[in-house]
Every structure is written in structure tokens, then in C-alpha cells.
Amino acid sequence: MPIYASPEQFMRDRSEYARKGIARGRSVVVTLYEGGVLFVAENHSPALHKVSEIYDRIGFAAAGRYNEFENLRTAGIRLADVRGFSYDRRDVTGRWLANAYAQTIGSIFSEHQKPFEVEICVAEVGAPGTVPTANDSGPGIRDQLYRISYDGSIVEERKFVVMGGVTEPVITALNSTFRVGWDLPTALRSAVSALGSTGENAPRELLPTQLEVAVLDRSAPGRTFRRIQGTLLGTLLTPPATDPAPGNGSEDS
């Protein structure tokens, strides 16, 4: 045990520790699609969730240590419900929540005995009528994805977020298939095959029982979070017989 470690070395060690912890798990993909936001996580447990609802138009996905991100998930739900209760439901925004998470995780990284080995994504779906485009528009009228890392750094992603496990093959696969405004079945199948491109014995074909899938459905009134399970998930994952090429955004759903 060294008697002295420079602050840079200390922080580097912490970062290394957190990164390794997150890389040990399985991957999670969060992507925008035409109807809102799609979450696809490789999760072999039907009871322990990596993807959750926070509020009407806000969802949460995480990778890393379960008890740590579960604590953050609960705190986020409480924060959102208290704000919605003391102000109004419309005053709860993804940006505010993502900032609160970033501050919290950042403080924990710097000042606690052990950093949180988590990476989280806060997603907010825009109002009905939002048209996904590649161009910029104000935060109030488009879908938003925020990635918060183990050290509290926050990034807004414009296309998709990949977290947990070994992410490079997943990112490469998604980059090649992603289309702005792609429909749900295409996005889902691309995400699942991208998740299958990492891990042992890749490429793997993931079964519905190995996946946790949910959406923030822009058109739903009130609470937009919906889990996709069972027969619906099986149906969406089955490629239609007439589809000539994967990633083609013109099929019917």
C-alpha cells in the first residue's frame, strides 16, 4: 500500500475501479424511435429491473451494481413525485432530474469511500406531435437522452445510449443501422442484434426471456412508460417474411 498517491493517481484508480465494475455486467441500449424512446436491456432476471418508470414522460435505465442504481432509481422517483406534487406534473423535466443525478453521483465519486459503479440514462419523451429530426430544436419539444457516468459527468445524446458490459461492438452495430425516426420493430430488432454482438460466444441470438424491453410512448396520455413483454415482444422480434433487408424503415408495424 503506497504511503502517498497523487490526486491524479487517486482519481484514476477510482475511475478504473468504477469502469471495471460497470464493464462486468450486461449491456443496455436506449434509443430514440419515431414513437418516442425505446429501452432494450439484456437482463436474464424477470424480477430485478434495469429499466424503470420515473414519471409521466421520464424513464430510467442503468448498468452496473444493482443495489446502487436501485437506490438511485428510488430516489429519482421520490424526487419526481415530490416536485410534481408540490408544483404540477408538467414541471417535472428530464433535464432537471438528470442534473440532480449528475450532482449526486459526482459528489459520491469524489467524497465517498467508494464510487458508485453505475452508469445511468434518463430519457424524456417529447409531447405528442414531436417529429424526430436530425436537426436541433429547443429542449421542451423533442425527445431527450441524458447519459450520466460514474463520476457525475453528464452528456446529452442525440441518437442512442449504450451502457454496461463491453460497449464497443454494440455501438458499432447500432451506428451502422440507426435511422432517425425509425419505427419500433426495426429499432427493437437492431438493438437486440447489437446487444447480441457482445459478450461470450458473440454473435448471440438473444431470446425474449433474456431481454427487458420498455418504451416511453409519446402518444399515451398521462403516464407514457410501457413494458413490452410476452407475446407482444415475441411478435415484434419476429422479422416479417416479406422484409427484404434489415434496417429498412418502410415496413408496416
Binding site: E68, N71, T74, G106
Partner: protein, 297 residues
């Protein structure tokens, strides 16, 4: 892993430490621990109790709320009047609310406080579902409401009482083994009434609360049909409210000139649906037309 005592300075916009502490899925208990100033009536709890003999503060009161079970579920309806002594404080106050996808709540008593309590109750149900990932059972929801009413007892004794009527249907269709299946059909809704001390009473067939409740219950005694479908039960409820308004000045009848009608929520296994004003208007107009011929109904 707690955050107290381990952090020098916590950033202003970070999540407060109290939010990271373990707890159960109850929003009310969390508020009591972390943000007690947000609880309904918080200011009133701390104020000096009213002097003996002093006149109670004038706050708007309701009302009549009726709940009627039927073959396919349960219907709950409430009138639209709030009174302050002899003055009509509001003509179109809403006293019946959808609580979650398979339950609804109607409130009699101090109007402002009741609306805040309903807001908190709806959030309580939603919060539990989001935290735990599974919805409360119907009995669980009824018990949570009882606890909230019990918490309001101090203010009830100062004259600010809130008395709810809760109706719902079990959403997951898994019957409680203690349920007497031979006698009770899980597709039928259930009704719970409460007293100001938070006592919970399950009612059968139909019930009413509020100043006009005795008249409404007498009307339903004659009109109630346990094999009715939802539209028939709605008609019976609106008739009962009409009879309550006929005899109780604190209960409002249908206002055909302003198109203000009772709030009606129908709960079946498919969900709790608030009937639109137009749909209720059709029923109310039929009721009034019937009374033109036979005023006693």
C-alpha cells in the same frame, strides 16, 4: 449505503440525503419523514386549537356521494355543489375522482382539504406502483386511505373533517382466499366507507355519504338492482342524487341551464372510466324528464 455524515458539503441541486434513505413504497410516510410541510393541512396542524365556544372558520362543505355495485363492477357519483352556510360557494366542484386504473374516490366534507387529500392519495397509489413494480391490492388501497383519514383526525376535531367513499375492483383478478367465492363475484366492485377516525367499513350493494346521504340511501333502497349493468346502475345513482338534492340544500341537482351534471365514474375489470359530461347529461336529462311526469321518481 447512506450518505449522511460522510459528505462535507452536498451540492445544492443534488438529491437530498433523505431521498436516498431506504423506506417502503408509501409516499405519505416519505413526505412525513422528508418534506412534512407538503402534507395537506400542515399549517393547520401547528396552529393554536380553536378556543372553546369560538365560531368555526367558514370553509366550503359538500355534499352527497353515492356508490352502487352492479353485475360488471361499481359506479360512484357525486353532486357538484359546495356550500358555505347558506351561500353556494361553488356550482361545479368535482368531488369524485379516478384514483388509479381500477378504483375511484369521492369525498364529502371540507372541500379544499378533501381535494388535497385526494391528490395525495392518487400519488400514493402511483408512487407505490412505481417503486415496487406492482400495484397495491384493493384492500391495501382501502387501508392506505384509512391511514390518511386517521392522520387528519386532529383537523377533523377542529371542524375540518374529510370523509371519503372509496370504490374499486381487484385489478389482478387473483381472489383473496378468504373471499367467499360462493357468495361474492370478483367481477363485482367493492365499496368502502370511512369515519373521521379512520375506521374502514366495507359496504355491500350500495352506499352514500354526505349531508344528503340518508335521502340518497332511501332512494337506492327502492331502486337498487344487483343484476343491473353499468348504464342502469348509473341511472340509479343519478336518480339517488336527484332525490338527495330534492331534500338537502347542501346537495346540488343537475343544472340543465349551465349543463352542470354529477360526476360519474364507472369501474369494471377493464378499468375506471369517468363518464363525459355529455354522457352524464343524457342520463340527467332523462331523469329530469321522468320527474316532470312523476316528481317523486
Amino acid at each position: 449505503m447512506t450518505v449522511d455524515g460522510q459528505v462535507g458539503r452536498w451540492p445544492v441541486s443534488a438529491i437530498p440525503a433523505a431521498y436516498m434513505r431506504p423506506g417502503n413504497g408509501s409516499f405519505t410516510e416519505f413526505l412525513t419523514a422528508a418534506e412534512p410541510h407538503l402534507l395537506p393541512g400542515h399549517g393547520a396542524r401547528q396552529s393554536v386549537p380553536a378556543l372553546a365556544g369560538a365560531a368555526p372558520i367558514a370553509v366550503p362543505h359538500g355534499t352527497t356521494i353515492v356508490a352502487v355495485t352492479c353485475q360488471d363492477g361499481v359506479v360512484i357519483a357525486g353532486d357538484r355543489r359546495a356550500t358555505m352556510g347558506n351561500i353556494i360557494a361553488q356550482r361545479d366542484i368535482e368531488k369524485v375522482f379516478v384514483a388509479d386504473t381500477h378504483s375511484a374516490i369521492g369525498i364529502a366534507g371540507t372541500a379544499g382539504l378533501a381535494v388535497e387529500l385526494v391528490r395525495l392519495f392518487r400519488l400514493e397509489l402511483e408512487h407505490y406502483e412505481k417503486i415496487e413494480g406492482i400495484r397495491l391490492s384493493l384492500d391495501g388501497k382501502a387501508n392506505r386511505l384509512a391511514t390518511m383519514i386517521r392522520g387528519n383526525l386532529g383537523m377533523a376535531m377542529q371542524g375540518l373533517a374529510v370523509v371519503p367513499l372509496f370504490a374499486g375492483i381487484e385489478s389482478d383478478q387473483v381472489p383473496d382466499p378468504a373471499f367467499d367465492v360462493a357468495r361474492r363475484d370478483p367481477r363485482r366492485g367493492r365499496i368502502f366507507s370511512y369515519d373521521v377516525a379512520g375506521g374502514k367499513y366495507e359496504e355491500h350493494d350500495y352506499y352514500a355519504v354526505g349531508s344528503g346521504s340518508t335521502f340518497a340511501r332511501s332512494a337506492l333502497k327502492k331502486r337498487y338492482d344487483s343484476a343491473a349493468d353499468v348504464p342502469t346502475a348509473v341511472r340509479a345513482a343519478v336518480e339517488a342524487l336527484y332525490d338527495a338534492a330534492d331534500d338537502d340544500s347542501a346537495t346540488g341537482g343537475p343544472d340543465l341551464t349551465r349543463r352542470i351534471f354529477p360526476v360519474v365514474v364507472a369501474i369494471t375489470v377493464d378499468g375506471a372510466v369517468r363518464w363525459s359530461d355529455d354522457e352524464v347529461g343524457v342520463v340527467a336529462e332523462a331523469v329530469v324528464a321522468g320527474r316532470m311526469v312523476n316528481p317523486g321518481g
